[in-house]
Point group: C2
Chain length 430, copies 2
């Protein structure tokens, strides 16, 4: 949709210009933030929590406008639920911000230190990354979560929320910017994009001279687009196709409990188990009990021929099932030959996110932990623990499955870089 | 140049296929390497040093073929010198490999460890990155340096050297692969590309499903091409446009010594100073002595109006000079207003590589160290110390100026990633 009297290309040029201005302002703010103290940032974060609490009524009201538009468009119920803000959810958001205010400051830590034989002192010190672009979908609370996590680590944030939540996000943003200003920090440390036009996302992904890293949060379509188009490094995960492997050495009761939790606690999170791998040696004895639990929890089951041969209540898995992240009450089931077979299946179908083994056999556990190539590898625990909060990181901006920089939950510490500080006394090199 | 009877596109498809095969073999080798022990890798590295020493004659002979071809093409003398191998250089290469064999193993370190209130034990353990592609130019010894540094950190390497050094590199590669096999490790842990055709580089840069990181080493043209084309994360620096700032609080004698070394010790390295920034308050007193030193060392000087006003032996700097990495005996000189002016100049023209201040004024030093945004920031030392070896890292594969993953010298430690190991006792999430 063009502005009145504008052609597409005029419009595109204007969007590009406006986004570039946001980038330049973010970069200038990042320079000031890098010089701010931990205490100043903590003060701004506490003020942000207070501002959100104080604006609770206005936030709920702004959200009503978004909800009305979304209902008019007949958006799905799950999306409407993610979009909704009420007094309770605003309070939870404020509490989240207050928790980030209380996190240890990750900037200025001495990561390593050495005095060389020639007397040169070399220290590696953590510093903010700079400017972080966050592209997300409908949940308005991401505006607060992402903005304050960036601020905790001394970074400027450029936030691009979904168009459905634009009134809610704008109101939250206003609270955050007020708090920054109150604490003597630049308001431009947290900015939104000037338009929800999709082309603004493209423009942001090209701002390599202003933006240091992009964090997309949302569905596969969004992540794929960002990874394809971005000229800026991306921290993300495309899929969370997590497996739980029940080894012959598993405690059967523990295995049942872990699997039911791993699949069904919340089916829509990236750490939910999507595929059960079960050791052929105990599949006959243990699969029926597991099937019992899952059917009682209204989970659909799709298995290979061996699984179906053991329990006919299991439906048919197609080849595509092994590569599908359901994010729903569906579980695929494959019977495998021991740790070896589980490792082979995971190497072929895993998404390098979270993989678990259930076993009392120490050798099997150690082999699985060592050989699985994933951000998180677990023994005797539910894959649903794959979460920055559960890891003690206080908050997370997402989970990364790439191997560079940050792997696993991305918290405040992962939003830092480092620099070397070298102190000499007139040192020249021979 | 096509193979006989082949069209360009048939040729391209064949190159693509051959490079994909190298990638698949590297990935398979990386899986085995990730399971190898530090002791095995040390053994392979020691064997590699011995193999290079034993093959000294053959390496020098292979190099003769490269030298003959290069001389026939009338390549520049500096390039011929970089290309040349003699018994002394082969011994230096073997000693370098032996030094990497003696480096502490960076894999399997516990980076952090926590037991959560619910009893879940979470450890972050360093692991190899996987497969590393190294694209470099004429120096054949990079084949050994890069290959063994990757191996030290448990990574498979795909090496693509310049076509001028193809016989030398092939002979070095044969020594390394023999050593791998001797130590019971897969030969494919270190591979070359099947052809020096430029299209093979393009094919390598598209192998995102096999290769985890690309490290280009060479001139600006190569780095730019790699950064533009790569679908794989790149660790590199485009420029090393390093500044030395002589503050009003500098010890004048120390400043002269440091600057002369920073510029002239070796002019072709990325850590060489390209621009002198001098504080207006002491420029009149100190610049003439500095100019004296540099002219005696046959360095060309190009300054702004203020510098030329102080010493007419300084030539004229054009606007482009402030953004030029000379890699030669040329220095640009700008007179600036204190730390503030130096910071402003560096923010505008610096390349985020290495920046230095010379001063006895503690406040000026601390401000410079805190505010300059670069991988390495120095006080009272020559920028020529920007080197992994000088930092105590034993060896480096390059210097990175991006902010993600590795910043500054990239040694064995920087060639690792990590994974989270989570140990429970039947833990399910509430």
């Amino acid at each position: 949709m063009n502005a009145p009297g504008k052609t597409d290309s005029e419009d595109s040029a204007e969007i590009e210009r406006a986004v570039r201005q946001v980038g330049a302002r973010a970069k200038a703010a990042a320079v000031l933030l890098a010089q701010s103290t931990a205490e100043q940032r903590s003060r701004a974060l506490a003020a942000a929590a207070a501002a959100i609490r104080a604006a609770s009524k206005q936030l709920v009201e702004a959200n009503r406008a978004d909800m009305a538009a979304a209902e008019k468009q007949s958006l799905p119920a799950a999306l409407l639920d993610r979009l909704r803000l009420d007094a309770g959810r605003v309070e939870a958001m404020a509490a989240g911000v207050a928790a980030v205010a209380a996190l240890p400051d990750p900037v200025g830590r001495t990561l390593s230190e050495v005095t060389r034989p020639n007397g040169l002192q070399i220290a590696r010190i953590s510093v903010p990354l700079g400017v972080i672009g966050i592209i997300y979908e409908s949940r308005p609370n991401v505006t607060a979560d992402a903005g304050v996590l960036c601020l905790r680590a001394g970074n400027a944030a450029i936030l691009r929320g979904g168009s459905e939540s634009r009134h809610s996000s704008a109101a939250i943003l206003a609270s955050l910017r007020g708090a920054l200003s109150e604490a003597g920090l630049p308001e431009d440390a947290i900015q939104g994009l000037p338009t929800t036009d999709r082309r603004a996302v493209g423009a942001l992904l090209r701002l390599a001279d202003c933006v240091d890293v992009i964090v997309p949060r949302g569905g596969r379509g969004l992540i794929e687009r960002v990874q394809r188009e971005s000229r800026i490094p991306v921290l993300a995960h495309l899929d969370g196709l997590c497996h739980t492997f029940i080894d012959a050495g598993a405690d059967p009761a523990m295995a049942r409990q872990i699997l039911l939790n791993a699949k069904m606690r919340r089916t829509g999170v990236c750490g939910a188990t999507e595929t059960l791998l079960i050791d052929r040696r105990i599949a006959g004895a243990q699969l029926p009990g597991i099937v019992e639990d899952l059917l009682a929890a209204h989970c659909e089951l799709r298995g290979d021929a061996a699984a179906r041969g053991i329990d006919p209540r299991i439906g048919v898995a197609s080849a595509a099932d092994w590569d599908t992240e359901y994010l729903d009450a569906i579980l695929s089931i494959a019977v495998v030959d021991g740790v070896e077979g589980a490792l082979r299946h995971i190497a072929r179908h895993g998404s390098h996110h979270t993989e678990a083994i259930v076993t009392e056999d120490k050798a099997a556990a150690e082999r699985f932990l060592a050989e699985v190539d994933a951000a998180i590898v677990m023994v005797n625990a539910s894959t649903q623990f794959a979460d920055g909060g559960e890891f003690g990181m206080g908050a997370e901006i997402g989970i990364a499955t790439g191997k560079l920089h940050a792997r696993g939950p991305v918290g405040a510490e992962q939003l830092t870089s480092y620099k070397y500080i070298v102190r000499g006394d007139g040192h020249v090199r021979a």
